[in-house]
């Protein structure tokens, strides 16, 4: 039952990622063609564009949502792959603990960076 619920979240997270990562990819990788997200004749990673996005509440919220959903989706997918290899129950518990602590730690780091960058 618990795994059914986690699988549903995994699929739901995939849909959320599709929207927000699609937007992120459009900004970072296709904007030469679209030309709507970044200042003319600049790269998405140029500092002025980074600051512009960092100060926008919309981008901060989308970064944190994308961070959380992508970490859950990716780490749960990794857990499924590892569990399919029939590890011992002790190893399964260890994998669960490592992925949970690692995921929370990475979420904390990324969310802190997104929120702290608003002061740039």
């Amino acid at each position: 039952m618990r795994d059914q619920r986690l699988w549903t979240w995994h699929v739901g997270a995939g849909i959320v990622i599709l929207v927000f990562l699609g937007l992120h990819m459009a900004i970072m990788h296709v904007d030469t063609l679209l030309g709507v997200f970044n200042a003319p004749r600049t790269e998405a990673i140029d500092w002025e564009n980074v600051v512009h996005r960092a100060q926008s509440a919309f981008f901060v919220v989308t970064y944190v949502v994308l961070l959380g959903t992508a970490l859950f989706h990716g780490l749960y997918g990794l857990r499924n792959i590892v569990f399919e290899l029939n590890p011992t129950s002790g190893l399964k518990k260890a994998v669960n603990v490592v992925l949970l602590i690692g995921g929370i730690g990475l979420f904390g780091l990324g969310a802190w960076a997104a929120i702290a960058s608003r002061a740039l």
Partner: protein, 146 residues
């Protein structure tokens, strides 16, 4: 409570590459996993690199200088390709999980028919969409190398 006492997964990771008379969709499954693992690895590194922006312009530009050049640009485009494939194939998997694109249930009467033939146009369609996205990203990639 139901307990799965079936045959364990004896093929392991080697089973991703081949294990019988597999169709196109079975290789999409393997590619979905490989691209997913690649995207996860990139994402974990991406969190650390982009966190540098919180420390100011100099830290950001130092971090960006470490991940520049044709090698990293090519790697970045491979990540983009993995994203394009994983995203559109993920849409296909969600549609199939919800029962779309697999045809109506039918009586199992000989000669048996497989729903794989019904699913095939969806699989081919999403690969065409992935290819279009890959080309659009490729144009930006080529521009960034100039």
């Amino acid at each position: 409570m139901l307990v799965n006492k079936g045959r364990p997964n004896r093929l392991g990771i080697a089973g991703w590459l081949g294990g019988g008379r597999w169709g196109f969709e079975r290789y999409l499954f393997t590619l979905h996993r490989v691209t997913g693992l690649g995207l996860l690895l990139y994402f974990l590194m991406h969190i650390f690199v982009t966190t540098s922006r919180a420390f100011g312009k100099q830290a950001w530009e130092t971090a960006m200088s470490l991940v520049t050049g044709p090698l990293f640009k090519t790697g970045e485009y491979l990540v983009f390709l993995a994203f394009a494939f994983h995203a559109v194939n993920g849409i296909r998997l969600v549609l199939i999980e919800l029962g779309f694109g697999v045809g109506r249930p039918i009586e199992p009467v000989y000669p048996y028919r497989t729903s794989v033939d019904v699913q095939r146009p969806l699989a081919i369609g999403v690969m065409v969409v992935a290819a279009i996205i890959a080309v659009l990203g490729g144009v930006q990639f080529m521009n960034s190398l100039r």
